[in-house]
Symmetry: C3
């Protein structure tokens, strides 16, 4: 059984956001997979996906604090500046966290750890809606 779905993620402010629910709701067929894998590709190059702690908003705020310091805007070594000061740091942050996630499916649900959730890492000030392509496959429930 194969599933492939385009899921548009609503526009968000720069920062790290929990989108587990938005992705699962976008692929209702996941509920029919008894055992399998789901892959999510974010089809953009200035926003990314990662798994991390799904509870405290402070964790997500601290992600922004660290990434903004580690990959600074306005550094003298940037050459690619014509799309704005947040653009080139966004590309680097995207590759540090990654554009894709593979997640096991068990009994129709994403088999994440208790404290794991999917973060949309929005690295632009005004990134707009983002495109996720979800591909899932496995054994259908009987």
């Amino acid at each position: 059984m194969w599933i492939q779905r385009d899921v548009e993620l609503a526009p968000r402010a720069r920062g790290f956001h929990l989108v587990t629910r938005e992705i699962v709701d976008g692929v209702p067929e996941l509920g029919r997979l008894r055992l399998g894998l789901a892959h999510v590709l974010l089809q953009n190059t200035s926003a990314s996906l990662t798994l991390n702690e799904n509870a405290s908003p402070d964790v997500r705020r601290d992600f922004s604090a660290w990434f903004d310091r580690a990959v600074p805007e306005g550094a003298e070594y940037w050459r690619h500046t014509l799309e704005g000061p947040d653009d080139m740091p966004a590309h680097i942050k995207t590759s540090l966290t990654g554009s894709g996630l593979t997640i096991p499916v068990r009994d129709g649900r994403l088999a994440l750890g208790t404290w794991q959730g999917i973060y949309l890492c929005e690295h632009r000030d005004s990134g707009g809606a983002r495109r996720a392509l979800v591909t899932a496959f496995g054994e259908a429930a009987g």
Copy 2:
């Protein structure tokens, strides 16, 4: 042919540890896959997985040296500090290395490069046992 197995990884000290053997031993059915893929998800948010050099212990020690400097404990910008000074840096390090790995299987074995091994990246001082969920699938050997 589908395989899904929970593999508990023994508790380890903070640092980077080779766990290829522990994971392979936890999924004996891998030996029956002629051609396929194995996915490993670490179901925690303060430890992670990566592929890297499987020989020199100095390489793994240098991983600790770099990550501890790049994501410092006690920085003034951390807000999420109530779970201890090693907790928030552990979350960031987890997303820098990643929670999941997909590895090809060929003739019943993980098709890693000669020098590649699976690292458990334990970012907490006392992280305890860690949970890996292994999902593998492919064509069974005849």
Copy 3:
């Protein structure tokens, strides 16, 4: 339908290089997949793969600028120095970007975003040819 192919990537200078075409050309059977996934594992520990912007060469030059500053050669904390000053930073950079990519396939083509391409991240001064193992599977076109 399963496909597994070794693809040798030509030697490149240290830096970030677009290799989407080289990988696709190395696996002509991808064209027969109507719907599926392709996984690429780079079987080395001092070069890596990532998805990022496929247009401006300045973006790729800025990747080098940032990574070379973030993971410096010659730091006093490196112990693993016997393979040259570029070796240990190469291992760290490899784990920051990752050794593997999973990419959806739709109608015989990699379903990347408009601006996404596959980067070979060559972290050594003289890394030589690199080995990619491509594993793809899915439903064949009728």
